[in-house]
Structure formats: C-alpha cells, structure tokens
C-alpha cells in the first residue's frame, strides 16, 4: 500500500522522472559543476519505492499510454514552442513566461543505481489514472542552478527550526513538572482554556472528552483526540500563548505540557516531563487515525454514471435553513454559539 495513494498527479511526474526514456532524453548537464550538483537533486529512492507500492486497486488502464505521456511531458519542459507534443503538457497546468530566454537544462540524472530505481518505478509509470490526470508540469528553469540566496548560518537554522516530530526529534534539553505547569497555565492559558484546561466560552477545550469520538458532537481534546504528544509540545512552544507566541522557554513548555497531560488524567501529579519521559507517554487516540482512503472507499460509488432523466419519482423537502436560521443578521444568530466553535 502506498503511503500516498491519493497523489495520482504527483506520481505521474515522479514516474516520468524515473522512466528510462525520460532520463535518457533529458539528462544532458552542460556544466560539469552543475552536473555534479544536479546529481544530488533527484527523486530519492524512497520515492521510487513508494511508486512501486501503488495501490493494487489502481488497475492499469489498458488504453492509457501511461509511460509515454509523462515522458513526453518532461521532454516538453525545455521546449516552449507550441509543438503538439508540448501543448498537451503546458495546457493542463500553466502558462509559461520567459522560459525561452533562459537556457533551460534537462532533468538531472537519476540516482546512483538507476537500474534498480527505474525498475521499481515502472509499475507506477503504468498506472493509467496517474497518467491521465497527470499535470507533469513543464516548468521553467528545470535543472538549473541559479546560485541565488546564501547559506543559512547554524544560528539562523537553530532560531527558526524549532519543530518537534512524533519521535521526539527537535525536542530541546529541559524538563518541567505538573505543579510548575499548573502555575504557568494559570498565568498564560487559563483565560481562554480554563483553569483545568476545560475551555472558556468558545475557546478550545484541552482536556476531557474521552470516549466521545464515535458519539454525536465528539469533544476533541489533547487527551481524547490528539495522536501525538509531540504535537502538543510543538504547538505550545511555537504558537502559544495566543497573542504572545514563541516566548516560552523549553522548561516552561515541558511544564505546561505536563500539566495538560495531568488535566487529562494521563499522568500523576508528580509527573516530570523531559526528553526521556516524553518517549514513555502514549496518547490514547494514537491509533485512531487512518490515512486518506477516499480513493478506495468512496471513489467506486462516486464515479458511477450520473442519472439525467427519471432519476426519482418524488422529492420531499427534509430540512430547511429557516427552521434553525443562524445566518448572520437573522433573529437566532446570537444563539448559535452554544456549540463549540467550528474553527479555532
């Protein structure tokens, strides 16, 4: 199963890049230095293996010249003249400006073991759906190195790259306990989220809602819904407090997140959160998510032919907006905010 079954469009391009024909036709680096740099700017092996894992449900359409179409699109990239072959690619996505004035290079050559990768890519390249809808973008400046920008300094990267992943990558040194977190939470967070993270008015509730996800109007909190603790740490540290973001130290963040866990009854009151204990916490809904499966679950039903005549005998009105009229300006508008906000 591909990790990205829904990205038919991007498959087409990636497939094109890895198709032997495309590589041969376009791999013409002019400057050896550029060629050397170009060698690293290629689709990684992981991409190729993902391609190879195209969902079994995607039957190759026998009449779709899948391998040929993306290859043509890449071939067409340097060629902006309105040749029949090129127009098919450029019409689908973009109008191009200035490409003709710029010496457009070919796609960089593929990875060190092209044979294996290309072989892996072939099944995907024959994915008829990908090819049909592919917008294998011909784009200006393909394969060129422009020598623009400057190298980012380590201090600069450190200042901006503060994100944290589920595996804990990005977590800084530090620690914080529940008690400290409670004090900080009262100062920084409680005006919106409540003293116990239960939420004030329409502001997000951070605690509670366990076992409500399959009920009407589920309550989605850090405890009941969020799959990863890293997300809470990352969001508190990068985006909170609301209106004064990015002021919390790592220790303060550890403490606040520890308190949020405590308010969800997920840790005891003597809990200390740090890089080590982070790895021991698993949020209850970690297994509650599936990757987008619309293509396999819904598409068979939603690609049936549409009825045009005699589609049904009777039509009844089943619901009317005027019964619950919450349109701005209508009398009941003010009452509509009883529910949790749609968006925050």
């Amino acid at each position: 199963m591909s990790r990205f079954p829904e990205i038919a469009l991007s498959f087409a391009l990636a497939a094109a890049m890895l198709t032997p024909a495309a590589a041969q036709d376009t791999a013409i680096p002019v400057d050896p230095a550029e060629a050397a740099q170009a060698d690293v700017t290629v689709a990684p092996p992981e991409v190729a293996s993902d391609l190879a894992e195209t969902p079994a449900g995607d039957e190759p359409a026998p009449d779709a010249p899948a391998a040929a179409e993306p290859a043509e699109a890449v071939d067409a990239a340097p060629d902006v003249a309105p040749t029949p072959g090129a127009s098919a690619a450029s019409d689908t996505t973009v109008q191009q400006e200035g490409a003709g004035e710029i010496p457009v290079e070919a796609e960089p050559e593929t990875v060190a073991e092209p044979g294996a990768d290309q072989a892996d890519a072939e099944p995907a390249a024959e994915d008829g759906e990908a090819a049909e809808t592919g917008t294998a973008s011909a784009y200006p400046g393909a394969g060129m190195v422009h020598q623009l920008g400057r190298e980012a300094l380590p201090e600069e990267v450190a200042a901006w790259d503060t994100d944290v992943r589920p595996d804990g990558q990005g977590l800084p040194e530090g620690s914080g306990d529940v008690e400290t977190g409670e004090t900080l939470f009262a100062d920084y967070c409680a005006s919106c989220h409540g003293d116990f993270a239960e939420g004030v008015d329409n502001w997000p509730k951070l605690a509670g809602g366990m076992d409500t996800l399959d009920r009407e109007d589920p309550l989605k909190t850090v405890g009941s819904y969020w799959p990863y603790l890293s997300t809470a740490w990352d969001y508190v540290h990068r985006s909170m407090p609301f209106g004064s973001a990015q002021i919390l130290t790592p220790d303060e963040t550890y403490a606040m997140v520890a308190y949020i866990l405590y308010s969800n009854d997920l840790v005891d009151d003597d809990f200390v959160l740090n890089r080590e204990t982070f790895a021991e916490v698993e949020l209850p809904n970690v297994d509650g998510f599936i990757e987008d499966d619309r293509d396999t679950v819904e598409l068979p039903e939603f690609t049936k032919e549409a009825c045009m005549e005699n589609c049904k005998e009777t039509v009844e009105i089943t619901r009317r907006a005027t019964i619950l009229d919450v349109t701005p300006g209508s009398p009941d508008d003010a009452d509509a905010g009883d529910d949790a906000p749609m968006m925050d």
Partner: protein, 441 residues
C-alpha cells in the same frame, strides 16, 4: 467628491469603510444582511420610476451624468468598486469562532461572475491575524535534508524563472456548517470559503534544487512567519510537482490578508496547506504531524476513527444565482442560472443542473478553457414558468468523479465531519423569487 446625481439608483445608506471602523461590525452585518434581499430588488428601481405606458424620464430627460463632469483621473489612485456595489463584501459568521483573530470570513460568490476572484473580496482565514511583513524584512529559509541550507530574500525570489498558475483555494471547512443539516441562508456562507486567482511565482522545485535535495528526504514542512506558525507536512512528490512560491495574485502583490509578500500555492489541495507569509521549508524523512494536520483538518468518521492527510479537494459545485442572497426579481421568463464548479483532481468535464430537485437534469453550458484545479463557470439559460423550483448543480470532473448528494456523503462519513463537505447544494426558489437553503429526499 461630486454630488450624487439625482437619478441615482441608490436607496440604501452607505456601507463605507468608515462605517465599519466607527460603528460596530455587528450592527453593520445585521443591517445589511437583514435587507440583503430587498437591497437587490430596490437597487434596480430608479428613483424616478417610469409610469406605466409613459416615456422613461431616464431617456427623455437629460440626466446629470449626461451633462456635467464626472470624477477626474487620480480621484482614487487605487480604485475601489463604485459605491452601488458596497454590499458586495466579505462577511463573517461570528458564532463560528471565539474571536476575529483566529477566524474566517466568506467570499461574496453570490454577487460575482466569471472565474477570477478579486483580491479585495477573497475570503480570509487567519490563525493569528493578518500580519504586516515587508518585502525588505522577508526571508525564506530552506533547511533539513538538503545539501546546503539556504536563505533567500524577496529580491532573490524575483530572480528565479516564474510561472503563472490559476488555481482555486478552498478551505477544507467550506460548507462544514452544513454537515448535519441546512443551516446558513446564502451561497456566500455555505460555499464562500473559496477564491480563485492567477498567481505568479517561482516553482518551489527550483528552490529545493538550489539547496540540493538529499536522497533520504521524502517529506517537506512548510511554515508561516506569523505567530500561529502554521505548518504543514507535504509529501516531497507534491512539492516537486506543481507547488508555487507565489508573490503576485491577479497581477498585483498579494494582499496582506492572503500572505503578503509570499505564500505557497498548492493546486487542488486544501487551503490550510497554502501557507501564508511563508518563511521556512524543511525537508525530512517523516511527517511532522503538526497541530493543523492532527487535531484539525482531520475527518472523524461515524465509528470514531479519523482520516488524516485528506489533502485533495473533491469535485464540487454550487449555483450562485439564484440563491438566498441573489433572489429572482424579474418574474417568470428568461432566467440565467449560473454557478461555479471545481475539482482538486483536475478539470471539470461537465456540470448538470436540475430545477426539479433531481428528477431530471440538464447539462449546463461550461465556459471553456478554464485551467484544471481552477474555478469553472457554468450557465443554464432557463425559461422560468414562475413556479417553485428546487435548484441543484452537480459537477463531474475529468476523472469521472460525480459530486455526491449530502446523504451519499453522510453514508460514508457520518454526521460528525467538519471538513471536505463537497455535497450537492439545494436551493428552494419560491414563486416570488426568494430562495432558501434546504435539503431534499
């Protein structure tokens, strides 16, 4: 300013920016919306109406605008719509969010035509307000699994080869309030979290190649510069395909509220991923699972499990006129039914329209040559007999995806979803021309 001509059709009190600043926004919304239908009607009735059978004074009498001067050039160095169109503005729904800083408003799609959305009325969605970030202060960093981490200035970006791409941006929550039932009376509110612009920018791929993509990189994080630090994970394939680092929209600089000076354009994918005030692109080998792709923008199904990474916007359409904010005011006879259709999977192949609640459908006239993953405009010229109608539109995209009914969508997803409601919309158009948001069997 010149005095208003005597024959002016204007009948409503002005809704000016000053009124917005001085008066309460709440009052503004209430007064204008309450009279929304009436406004559309009365605006077309001249102050000096022609008596039955009599000559039209607008023709027989010399009007002020036919005799005196109009405004000189430079009266408004950057023009705004004429005041007769003051009601065509973005509007919010206050109960949706706790405040306006992290909130949304809606494009007045009921009053627009064609496909391009003017920036000034294209909907806004902020998570921490629309910030002011100058071109001079702008920096874009590329880091992570690259050969050389880079920093670009705004000027650097303008030196890369450019592309123009017309694409729709639809918030994943568009029509989200309609999941459980018909709620809001107006296409602006049911379907207005969308806009469609022509963007100019640099293919992100060029910037990534400039930094050198390491072989192990498979995922990309895009992060904004505002205090919300909105960040989303993308598979590398999409970033290499058609994603644009854009600095112009509809030929001019991006508006502040749309991410000036630089935003991401992600054709076909949900609006939250079009990161505004783009400041950083990081390459990695795993998704980051940020707040916006776990706690939000995930779709909870009836059994409590939730879909994540639902990036693609499915095919969708809506009749924008007639609709609750755009009632029929001319009585029976020739009627233009119009609306828009779009799909994140590519182009729109066909749009069907029904006026009898789906018993019979007619193929609408689709304006040709729209780009894939951009808004398509459709028209159905209809000879209205003056009786009640149940009007729907149904989009079919180039992959064969047929826009589903609400019940069909609920069959798969239950009632607790918020995002990705692309179901068919029904307007009940009454004999008097007024329209209402309804659901039908």
């Amino acid at each position: 300013m010149t005095d208003r001509p005597i024959g002016s059709a204007r009948t409503e009190s002005p809704i000016t920016p000053d009124a917005l600043k001085n008066g309460s926004r709440r009052r503004f919304l209430t007064t204008t919306l309450a009279t929304g239908g009436a406004l559309a009607t009365t605006a077309l009735v001249p102050a000096t109406a022609r008596a039955q059978g009599e000559p039209d004074p607008l023709i027989t009498e010399v009007q002020p605008w036919a005799s005196g001067f109009g405004d000189g050039v430079d009266e408004t160095p950057y023009g705004l719509p004429i005041h007769f169109e003051d009601h065509v503005v973005r509007r919010t729904v206050s109960w949706l969010t706790a405040d306006t800083i992290s909130s949304i408003n809606f494009t007045p799609i009921h009053a627009l035509d064609g496909t391009i959305t003017p920036q000034g009325c294209a909907f806004e969605r902020h998570h921490s307000g629309a910030i002011e970030l100058s071109k001079a202060d702008y920096r874009l960093m590329i880091n992570g699994m690259v050969e050389k981490p880079l920093v670009f200035t705004y000027e650097d970006l303008e030196r890369f080869p450019r592309q123009n791409v017309t694409a729709f941006l639809e918030c994943a929550a568009n029509s989200g309030m309609e999941w459980a039932g018909a709620q809001l009376n107006g296409a602006q509110f049911t379907h207005g979290m969308i806009h469609n612009m022509e963007y100019t920018g640099v293919p992100l791929r060029l910037l990534l190649e400039e930094a050198g993509i390491k072989l192990e990189a498979t995922w990309v994080l895009a992060e904004g510069a505002d205090a919300s630090s909105n960040a989303r994970s993308f598979p590398l394939e999409k970033m290499l395909d058609d994603v644009l680092v854009a600095f112009k929209a509809n030929g001019e600089a991006l508006r502040k509220e749309h991410g000036y000076p630089v935003r991401l354009v992600v054709p076909g994918w949900e609006g939250n991923m079009w990161v505004k005030w783009l400041r950083r692109i990081e390459l990695g080998d795993q998704p980051w699972e940020t707040r916006e792709e776990t706690s939000k923008y995930t779709d909870t199904l009836a059994d409590g499990t939730s879909r994540k990474w639902t990036w693609v916007m499915d095919a969708k359409s809506v009749v924008t006129s007639p609709s609750p904010q755009a009632p029929i005011t001319h009585g029976k006879g020739p009627l233009v039914i119009t609306g828009m259709a779009w799909s994140g999977r590519g182009g729109i192949k066909r749009v069907d329209v029904t006026v009898d609640g789906g018993k019979t459908w007619k193929e609408a006239r689709l304006v040709p040559n729209a780009n894939p993953m951009s808004l398509h405009r459709f028209y159905l010229e209809h000879d209205w007999d003056g009786s009640e109608m149940l009007v729907q539109s149904r989009a079919i995209d180039e992959t064969g995806y047929v826009q589903p009914t609400k019940d069909a969508l609920r069959g798969f997803r239950g009632l607790n979803s918020i995002y990705h409601n692309n179901a068919i919309q029904t307007w009940l158009v009454k004999a008097n021309g007024e329209a209402e948001n309804v659901e039908i069997s």
